[in-house]
Amino acid sequence: MIRRTKTASMTATKTETATEIPDHHIGRRKLDIAGIVFQLALVASLLACFAFLMVLIVDVVKDGAPVFAERGTDFLTSDLSRDPAQTGVWQGIKGSIMLAMITLIVAIPLGVACAVYLEEYAPATRLTRFINLNIRNLAGVPSVVYGILGLVIFVQWFEGFTGGRSVIAGGLTLSVLVLPIVVITSAEAIRAVPQSLREAGFGVGATRWDVTRRLVLPDASPGILTGLILSLSRAIGETAPLLLVGAVASNFFTSGNAGYLEQLHGTYTALPVTVLTWARQPQAEFRELTSAAIVVLLGITLLANLAAILLRNRYQKKR
């Protein structure tokens, strides 16, 4: 009884207020000032990130342009030299290409095989979980610590094979560095392959390896390719570990007229190491040279990254 009267009185007050509301609230939309300020602050933060990127690129291109204007492709094809007017990035480019090739040969097959094992073959055991956790942790180890690992293992322990501080030791160190990235991106791509595809394969009597090789890997290939490009771009842009495994950080060295195989065991440098060398030179001419070398380095890494991102987005949209 009491309850009913209460509801009755409540409805009464409600109808009263309900008739008032339209005039005061719904009719006129209040301007949400706090909301607008908040949204502007968000946009400003995002734009600040882009501004950094823009300023960086404009600044570097502006400083580096005179070098390209004066020297043209000569800058790209000259060896390192103490004379700023003579020096060039050729040895750096060559070193970076050799490092990237070694990474490609070592890290990609190893990483993809590891991802295939974890996604297609591994039983759900404690060991498998541990391997997964371990890979995620390896991805977070700072690159300079990988340099120490390379120094101890590839330069000191396996000196006979790598020849000490050689491009092989550098390439192997970078391979170990990008291995977790390759595994994680490949495993994600393999996980995204629909289960029905595998079941169809097993249904016609294919073995697990047949299913993996003929169905899963082709379907996952765009994702794997994305990881491959990202890891190569990482290997090309990485400096710190190379300092430890002996990329030459001085302004002059000759690889002489050694053959390609001999060069694998000889001294080497890489594009980012060249940038570091020039950035630390006191002469003003080297400012421009550093910027020009950065233009080359950024050109390679940013294009590679952009390609990988666009490829991934396109591939995700299809799913």
């Binding site: 602050a41 995002l46 291995l179 294919a206 950035a279 940013l302």
Partner: protein, 324 residues
């Protein structure tokens, strides 16, 4: 009848009688086993890498510690070639750079993430997010040079006129820019994983967009956001080249808590030992001086620091996967 259910090319006999061997072609089975072992050994390599880290770092680090007077680890200043190995100098430098970087990355990164996840139209997001990810692909040495040549004179020295050309503040800002995409992308993923029901419920109660974003979506995505911040901090701690170029105190550094001065972090101490010391050029380090061997000790510290942070961050990442 041994080959029933065997190779693709074999005729299948339907309705196999009991007692028939259904285990398939032994050659195919052998091949399967070999493939499985080859793939497993690839996975085992990753374990070997971790083992390599532990063995290589601890062995050399213990050798270093047993050869020096342990009091030297607490003497003010990091001057390895003079026998001063003050770990505090490096840890404080690292914390300063990481702190500044996190201040930059938290504000810019989280704001970008909220904008991309909650405000941006799908079309806008598709254009803006890749640009943010490109920022993540800039080699750190390039950002280091940029910090030295642009951030230091144009930002830091205009605000603080007494700042030196090389200072930890510009290095910290540049590291912040470097890790912002990491914060933004992981947080954005976490916020977009929040189900729309929560947003609709909030709008249904009459909440504004700001309130919905900050009071409903943000708390619901908090474990992913915390994960992004922890992983970013771990990245900042290990960042080498930016600090090496922009705050370069090569050779050594006095104990300093002033971010406007040059300084060292753990990572740059390793890099300067590797480039600056002639022991490295002499090749080997087998019987090089203790100065060079201190690199292994700092490396072990850095490894332990980042490993700890990554383990915690990983816990949080796993939690988002479970939540929705």
């Amino acid at each position: 009848m041994a080959g029933v259910g065997g190779g693709l090319g074999r005729p299948l006999s339907i309705g196999a009688t009991p007692g028939v061997d259904l285990s398939g072609d032994p050659w195919r089975q052998r091949k399967e086993r070999v493939v499985k072992w080859v793939l497993f050994s690839a996975a085992a390599v990753t374990l070997a890498v971790s083992a390599g880290f532990v063995i290589a770092l601890t062995g050399k680090a213990l050798e270093f510690l047993s050869n020096i007077d342990l009091g030297l680890l607490w003497e003010r200043g990091w001057f390895p070639r003079r026998g001063l190995f003050d770990v505090r100098t490096l840890v404080v430098g690292t914390l300063m750079v990481t702190g500044i970087a996190m201040a930059v990355a938290t504000s810019l990164g989280l704001a970008s993430a909220i904008y991309l996840a909650e405000y941006a139209r799908p079309r806008t997001r598709r254009i803006l997010k890749p640009i943010l990810e490109v920022l993540a692909g800039i080699p750190s040495i390039v950002l280091g040079f940029f910090a030295l040549e642009w951030i230091s004179p144009n930002l830091v020295q205009t605000v603080f006129s007494d700042a030196g050309t090389f200072n930890l503040l510009s290095a910290g800002i540049a590291v912040g820019v470097l890790i912002t995409p990491l914060v933004a992308t992981i947080s954005e993923d976490a916020m977009r994983a929040v189900p729309d029901d929560l947003r609709e419920a909030s709008y249904g109660l009459g909440a504004r967009k700001v309130t919905t974003s900050l009071r409903v979506v943000f708390p619901a995505a908090i474990s992913g956001i915390v994960a992004s911040l922890i992983l970013a901090a771990s990245r900042a701690i290990g960042e080498t080249m930016v600090v090496f170029i922009a705050a370069a105190a090569s050779g050594g550094s006095l104990y300093t808590v002033d971010p406007l001065e040059a300084g060292q972090t753990m990572a740059t101490a390793i890099a300067s030992l590797a480039t600056g010391s002639d022991q490295v050029a002499a090749g080997g380090g087998q019987d090089a001086g203790q100065a060079f061997n201190s690199l292994y000790f700092v490396g072990l510290l850095l490894f332990a620091f980042t490993l700890g942070l990554n383990m915690i961050g990983d816990r949080f990442v796993q939690r988002i996967r479970e939540a929705y």
